[in-house]
Assembly symmetry: C2
Amino acid sequence: MRGALTMITGNLLANVPHQLGDEQIVELLSAPNVRIERIVSLGHATPPDVWYDQDRAEWVLLLAGSAGLIFEGEAEPLLLEPGSYVHIAAHVRHRVAWTDRSVPTVWLAIHYR
Amino acid sequence: MRGALTMITGNLLANVPHQLGDEQIVELLSAPNVRIERIVSLGHATPPDVWYDQDRAEWVLLLAGSAGLIFEGEAEPLLLEPGSYVHIAAHVRHRVAWTDRSVPTVWLAIHYR
């Protein structure tokens, strides 16, 4: 029996928008301890002097495009390319310095506690 | 401060073996409620008549290669290509019917409770 609760499938690289106002965030899984999202960026960045400071740890994978991720206190952004992953512990302040302007950047974000 | 506990980074598509005996499983994250692994297959499949029946739910993403995943009671395998994901609820019996024989198949597996 293939039901909505047992088996949900799709493709992260399908239906990627090539024009975007805000970043697009699609929730793929929401469970008590884990939330999985696909995020599509196109030139988006965190506003200057804004830092993400999250209660939950996050494991991020970049699937397409490219991005620079800065951690507070670091001089240089971490370059993320397809296949790159990074674990961000809770309350580790970070921001997205840049994302590719020419092609969509597709992220998989796993928030967990 | 960039420490082992706060920021762990790498690339899932780097150091992919092109010759394999058994499937290669590398643990990327182990937390009380979540375990993340990279799995590399090269023609591997679940032995006939063996079914996976897992206590934890699993969210799987295929990053490279291709595979067929069968759920008990289904006639046809679900075809997984790069970007394909599938959620497998706990105790939903399934098996890997086949994986690509010509190129490595790279999976991301997220086990959670």
